[in-house]
């Protein structure tokens, strides 16, 4: 198991994702002899997990069952321990494509936060790329570094505990792409430019507030970035439902009045049409943040 390489069988020391239902999943560090509590009962690692195939159905002590899945950055995003607000898959997917990430890309990121985006970046740049991630909060930086080791991606990433606005990314002229998710991204734009390759590259800044976007765009233009473009992307989930729609009874045409005996024989159930359709959830995240992209030209 690694977050950048699939395996078939669950082994001691892996991180597996226990999938309970479509709204809840939890990461589990697989350890010989260990146990994990779920709402469906206990999972015993030695017998229920180790040696089984990823994707297996596991029956818990209370008789309920769960599926044990191979970790992916997307499953990690929905199950990771939150230490900060995190980026979700819809934004991550857009960022990954618009930053033109691929195997071999060198990426700078700040802040690391809970590492939701970091794992997705690592998955895409492996096996030959690298992520330089900067987090100004010491405990967060240490915790995420530990997770990278547990997820067996530590060889692809350097975690630095510093303030990107003051100290930059700790590297110069190496990055193909830079990602900023900090309160004042405009202060980090010159550092971002310095971190990027002389031949150019792509930058993305994520900000929840439009005022931040305005200042960032101004800073990007001042630093000669090109193709500055701001967009917003939202996920819309369609829940599949079978619905039954009753048909109205308009009564009989009076001119062709039937004998009363017939009208009493009318079916007791009012006619209805049943169909498969989708409904939107009652509430959805209507705003995550604005994504501002830009191209650094060759300098």
């Amino acid at each position: 198991m690694s977050f950048v390489e699939y395996s078939d069988v669950i082994r001691d020391g892996d991180v597996a994702i226990v999938y309970l239902n479509h709204t809840s999943a939890m990461p589990v560090k697989v350890q010989q002899g260990a146990q994990t509590q779920t709402r469906y009962g206990v999972i015993r690692h030695s017998t229920d997990l180790i040696g089984r195939r990823y994707g297996s159905k596991v029956t818990c002590s209370k008789g309920g069952w769960v599926h044990v899945l191979h970790p992916t950055p997307e499953l990690w995003t929905v199950s990771l321990p939150h230490r900060t607000q995190i980026l979700y898959t819809t934004d991550i997917a857009t960022i990954t494509m618009m930053l033109e990430l691929k195997p071999g890309s060198v990426v700078c990121e700040s802040g690391t936060g809970s590492g939701s985006l970091s794992h997705a970046i690592l998955r895409t740049v492996a096996p030959s790329g690298h992520l330089h991630t900067v987090e100004f909060h010491q405990q967060r930086a240490e915790k995420v570094a530990e997770e990278f080791r547990e997820h067996r991606v530590d060889h692809l990433v350097t975690v630095r505990n510093q303030d990107v606005c003051r100290d930059g990314f700790g590297v110069t002229g190496v990055a193909d792409a830079v990602f900023l998710d900090i309160p004042s991204p405009w202060e980090a734009v010159p550092h971002a430019k310095a971190a990027m390759k002389r031949q150019g590259g792509r930058l993305c800044s994520f900000s929840p507030c439009i005022e931040q976007v305005q200042r960032t765009c101004q800073a990007l233009a001042d630093q000669d970035f090109e193709e500055i473009s701001t967009l917003e992307v939202l996920l819309r989930v369609h829940d599949v439902r079978t619905v039954s729609l009753p048909l109205p009874d308009f009564g009989q045409d009076s001119s062709t009045r039937d004998p009363p005996s017939d009208s009493t024989a009318a079916p007791p159930n009012p006619p209805a049409v049943t169909l498969k359709t989708t409904t939107p959830p009652r509430e959805i995240p209507g705003h995550t943040g604005y994504l501002t992209f830009a191209t650094k030209p060759r300098t």
Partner: protein, 465 residues
């Protein structure tokens, strides 16, 4: 850092390269071919002048369609006169504000004036420009720039650029797949280096190319294709290095049923079919030649020269048959290689984006995936995905099923003028995504797959017993 000349080699535009032309928001993918006329945005030119320059360079189109690299940085707005009106109360659209006529502008163009200079002329001859607000002046200049500047930028192709290009220019060719939807697909299917991915697409090869880019030449991609052969025009536009193509395999969907049933035998069965084809082809040939020979014999006036001709004809025919044989053998080998990749039913991901009904495609191809692997299906329409969802729920073997689409909006960001862009895409298509799981029961009983209805049967047995 890394300032040596060698470093730039891969950034240089070379002959034969697949490149993307860009002007404003308009893209076009072309290959650099010597002396080949390119038409882009109603202008024609040759790309020869771009060879040897660096990717990202902006060129001016000089007379004769010759590309010349633009001098760096003269993009500031031509009018530096800060005179501007406060509002538009005195501006009347009477069509008389511009003193230059169409012919005047054409003359200026013929005199070889650059776009910038023409715009300056337009401003000087506009009676209302000074009365426009500063914002309106900027907008005017931007509009005229778009019309009169004859520049083109040459870019290295990427998934981002090609997806935006196809969506903007030829959405019908890619089933109206919007670029952010493609982005979701690549992420939801966890496409990464070293995995084994199945792809079924009728999006001109854009989806296939995007997947190959994300795999970086590591692992393998099997293109499941309908009809006579795989369509890959879009893959070419990515300009991948040759070794990427070694990771690409193809398998015709018309053999899927046989492969699933275990009756497809590419080592014995198929070759016999091929050989039959070959032998019939070979048989036909001798018959023909014999017939011709007979004709020759009956012909009294046979010259020695004709004899030689006859021999040559035969040789050519043999060579052709040989070539055909080699080609068939090659095709058989490729089919066998693709079948071998599929037979283990241990693929790591499945991506479907086609004009076909997705339901049979999904239900057929999902059987080639390992448990705990993601799949994603694109459709321009929602209803077929509802059907896929329903069928997968019935069959079992999947979790985390989600039917989604993405909403995307661009913003104009300018000091005091920030707002959503007036036009936005009405929809980018729908996705059904999920993860496969093992279909056998909780106990690792046997290799045979027990279906979901099993528990019901068990219950019945219990009541009977």
């Amino acid at each position: 850092m890394a300032d040596n000349g060698d470093d730039d080699h891969e950034y240089k535009i070379k002959e034969g390269d697949y490149i993307v032309l860009k002007r404003g928001e308009i893209f076009k993918a072309v290959q650099i071919v010597q002396k080949k006329k390119i038409i882009f945005e109603k202008q024609w030119f040759f790309l020869d002048g771009a060879v040897g320059h660096l990717y990202g360079t902006t060129f001016e189109i000089a007379s004769g369609g010759i590309l010349q690299p633009q001098k760096p940085k003269n993009t500031e707005s031509p009018s530096d006169s800060k005179e501007a009106g406060t509002d538009n109360r005195n501006i009347v659209d009477d069509g008389k504000s511009q003193k230059l006529t169409r012919d005047d502008i054409e003359t200026l163009k013929e005199q070889g004036l650059k776009g910038q200079e023409i715009i300056q002329q337009l401003i000087e001859n506009s009676s209302t420009f000074r009365d426009k607000t500063g914002y309106a002046q900027d907008k005017y200049i931007k509009k005229k720039k778009k019309k009169y500047e004859n520049t083109v930028t040459i870019l290295k192709p990427s998934c981002r650029i090609l997806a935006m290009m196809y969506h903007g220019r030829e959405p019908g060719k890619i089933c109206h797949l919007r670029y952010d939807t493609l982005a979701q697909m690549l992420t939801l299917a966890n496409i990464h280096a070293g995995s084994k991915i199945l792809v079924f697409e009728t999006c001109a090869g854009l989806v296939l190319g995007a997947i190959m880019e994300r795999m970086g030449g590591y692992g393998s991609v099997v293109q499941m294709y309908p009809g006579g052969g795989p369509v890959r025009a879009g893959v070419e536009s990515f300009g991948f290095p040759a070794h990427f193509l070694d990771t690409l395999h193809e398998f015709p969907i018309c053999h899927v049923s046989a492969l699933l049933a275990g009756t497809l035998d590419v080592t014995a069965r198929d070759p016999t079919a091929d050989e039959k084809q070959l032998s019939t082809a070979a048989e036909e040939d001798p018959n023909q030649t014999q017939a011709e020979e007979q004709n020759m014999e009956t012909d009294t006036a046979v010259g020695a020269g004709q004899d030689q001709e006859q021999q040559e004809k035969e040789k050519r025919r043999e060579a052709k048959a040989q070539e055909k044989k080699v080609k068939l053998e090659e095709k058989r080998k490729r089919l066998a290689a693709a079948a071998a990749l599929l037979e283990g039913r241990n693929a790591d991901g499945l991506v479907i984006a086609s004009r076909f009904h997705p339901s049979p495609v999904l239900l057929g191809l999902i059987r080639f995936l390992s448990p705990s692997r993601p799949f994603v299906v694109y459709s321009q329409y929602k209803e077929p995905l509802i059907e896929c969802y329903t069928k997968l729920k019935e069959e079992g073997g999947t979790v985390n099923l989600r039917l989604t689409d993405t909403w995307m909006r661009h913003y104009q960001v300018l000091p005091n003028r920030t707002h959503p862009v007036l036009l936005m895409s009405g929809g980018g298509g729908y996705l059904l995504s999920g993860i496969t799981v093992a279909t056998d029961g909780p106990k690792p009983a046997g290799p045979q797959q027990s279906e979901e209805p099993a528990p019901k049967k068990l219950k019945l047995n219990h009541t009977e017993g």
